[in-house]
């Protein structure tokens, strides 16, 4: 694996160079929080931040995307062509939890049968630069409890560690190494830099305080679809869907048509298992009639069904749903309580 040093003073220059070849996305400050978005001309990723409020998942699987177009022919609306964006993109300073979510989403969208062309083509055109967390950014972080780590390179094409006055850059994949053609002046990393990284990694892992026993609850979930515990989580839920919209691994969507006079687009929009209409059938029947069944679905999907189907928990421990739930429903608490049942 190729290891280089990126002196911090060089960062602006490298970002500008990359911008000539592809769209560059990164964390920037907006009001009193950080968002992950396209970097404008002369704009740079924040050098120091916790994590972006929005998960970078949205650049592979946007909240709203056009799938195809249609237009009127006589009395009918007919298909007018597919619409797939596959512009080259560079995601700069993705946190390890979020980069790991791409690996989890690959399992679903890039299956042998029924490959999702929208996700797959965008994913192939995207380079992920992960920035390790030297220290857990939030008290609500729990990546190590769900199979991740603040220094995990899962999903990264290039893995950066802040080692003081420079970043140690590890070029992991072919896609990542491709950037060396643009960044052709980077000095090679010395042993000292690598050693520094190893020490930082150890401290980073130790800095995680929150460790809900997520790997212990599947035994309970396998056997307790019906259990009084399911009556306890949802009571104060507002059905706002914030948890699912912020989640780096939630992938549920709706398909909708939007017509303007004689032309229209078929869209894919994010949807949420927290909404009553999500499973509402035209007959009036709803297999998940109350918030209780919807919360059970959310927990089961992430900690049992995904494990059954793909062998991995569908949660990366980023803590967004914990921090931003308006009524403080805490998935870590749910995990911990289930583990005690």
């Amino acid at each position: 694996m190729e290891k280089k040093l990126i002196p911090k003073g060089q960062l602006v220059h490298l970002v500008d160079k990359a911008k000539k070849h592809m769209g560059v996305f990164g964390p920037v400050k907006q009001e009193d929080y950080v968002v992950f978005r396209p970097l404008q001309e002369g704009e740079n990723p924040l050098p120091s931040f916790g994590n972006a409020r929005n998960a970078p998942k949205e650049f592979l699987f946007p909240p709203r995307e056009v799938m195809m177009i249609y237009s009127q022919r006589g009395r009918d609306m007919v298909y007018g062509g597919e619409y797939i964006q596959e512009n080259r993109a560079l995601l700069f300073f993705v946190r390890p939890c979020d980069a790991r979510s791409f690996v989890l989403l690959d399992m679903l969208f890039d299956q042998e049968t029924y490959r999702d062309p929208y996700y797959v083509r965008r994913r192939a055109a995207t380079i992920v630069i992960t920035l390790a967390c030297n220290k857990a950014p939030y008290k609500a972080c729990f990546c190590t409890a769900v199979g991740g780590s603040p220094v995990s390179a899962d999903g990264a094409d290039i893995f950066l560690t802040d080692i003081g006055d420079a970043y140690l850059a590890e070029f992991i994949t072919e896609k990542g190494r491709g950037l060396l053609e643009i960044w052709d002046e980077l000095p090679a990393a010395d042993d000292e830099a690598v050693k520094k990284k190893e020490n930082i990694a150890k401290e980073a892992i130790d800095s995680l305080e929150s460790k809900p026993p997520a790997d212990k609850i599947k035994v309970f979930l396998d056997r307790n679809f019906e259990h009084p515990f399911w009556d306890t989580i949802h009571q104060r839920c507002l059905k706002c869907g914030t948890c699912t919209y912020l989640c780096p691994t939630c992938h549920c969507f709706d398909i909708n048509d939007e017509t303007k006079k004689t032309n229209g687009v078929r869209l894919r929009n994010w949807d949420s298992c927290m909404y009553p209409t999500f499973t509402q059938m035209a007959s009036g029947h709803n297999p998940r009639p109350t918030q209780k069944e919807r919360w059970r679905q959310r927990v089961m999907h992430k900690f049992k069904y995904y494990v059954d189907n793909f062998g991995a928990i569908s949660c990366v421990g980023c803590g967004r749903c914990v921090i931003l739930c308006p009524v403080n429903i805490d998935i870590r608490k749910i995990i911990t309580e289930i583990a005690q049942l």
């Binding site: 299956q111 229209g264 949807d271 059938m281 035209a282 007959s283 999907h301």
Partner: protein, 280 residues
């Protein structure tokens, strides 16, 4: 299915048949607009497709025609939501899209060499009609044992495929029991709920598979009845219905436990259902 599974195959509405006296169930016969699509579209009874109307949306509907019936596809659609209501307003010659075939199918290979009991109720009979026509077709009939059909509707006017039912009744290689919950002046056939008729008929369980599909209440009462008749749970099948969008196991809404009804179903054996959560 096209290489992008979200893109519908264009079809032309060739014929529209009013099935019931309440005028809210129609059968649409669709012809492929593109020959290549027709050649690629290979399906089995029990599979479904997303019927796609640009500007309205999509609706998952079981394929009512049999693969042995070449050159067209048929879908029997009840008017219920936005898409199906728009479908009911279509005229012959209209262009619509379909995505499919989707889902698994009735267990055709498993049925070979066995007796088959088909129990249908109401409007859910559509993919069973596909199956019956498949089983009794000249090319397939000798691969299967005795075929028994028990089909019921609320009233005589709500029975689907009336001409075919009459034709099936004349055959000697098919035993068929048609029943209605409530008769009318003209009705001379059986009156009684489907589970009751199943009990009367009491099909033998030896080397026999039961395929049950209908409204939830009928299915709930009929499944245990066949179990009591001695049928193995592996030999009782039903087809589930859920709200669907993508049809290919991505959009996340039609799961029952860890299975997606669209991709892993809609047909499940009672043995499989026992392993799943009862959320349907």
């Amino acid at each position: 299915m096209r290489s992008n599974p979200y893109i519908p195959i264009p079809m032309v509405v060739e014929k529209i048949i009013d099935e019931v006296d309440t005028k809210d169930i129609k059968t649409f016969r669709l012809r492929f607009e593109d020959r290549e699509d027709e050649e690629r579209f290979s399906y089995f009874p029990g599979q479904f497709a997303e019927l796609s109307l640009f500007d309205k949306g999509e609706s998952p509907i079981g394929i009512a025609s049999s693969p042995t019936q070449r050159g067209c596809l048929e879908f029997t659609v009840q008017k219920a939501g936005v898409v199906t209501t728009a479908l009911h307003e279509l005229e012959v010659g209209a262009i619509i899209g379909i995505r499919g075939p989707l889902g698994n199918a009735w267990p055709i290979d498993y049925l070979k060499g066995k007796n088959v009991v088909i129990v249908g109720g109401g409007f859910a009979f559509t993919t069973q009609r596909s199956l019956i026509n498949y089983l009794i077709s000249e090319e397939n009939r000798n691969q299967f044992g005795d075929i028994t059909v028990i089909y019921g509707a609320r009233t005589p006017g709500l029975l689907l495929y009336k001409e075919e039912l009459a034709a099936w009744q004349k055959r000697d290689d098919l035993e068929i029991h048609i029943t209605v919950d409530r008769g009318d002046d003209a009705w001379v056939g059986k009156v009684g709920f489907v589970p009751t008729v199943c009990k009367e008929v009491s099909p033998r369980c030896e080397n026999t598979v039961a395929l049950i599909c209908g409204p939830p209440i009928m299915v709930r009462l009929t499944l245990p009845l066949f179990y009591d008749l001695g049928f193995l749970k592996e030999n009782i099948f039903t087809s589930l219905e859920m709200r669907m969008k993508c049809g290919i196991g991505k959009c996340g809404r039609c799961n029952v436990g860890n299975k997606y009804v669209c991709k892993d179903g809609p047909v499940f054996s009672l043995a499989q259902l026992d392993q799943l959560t009862p959320e349907y």
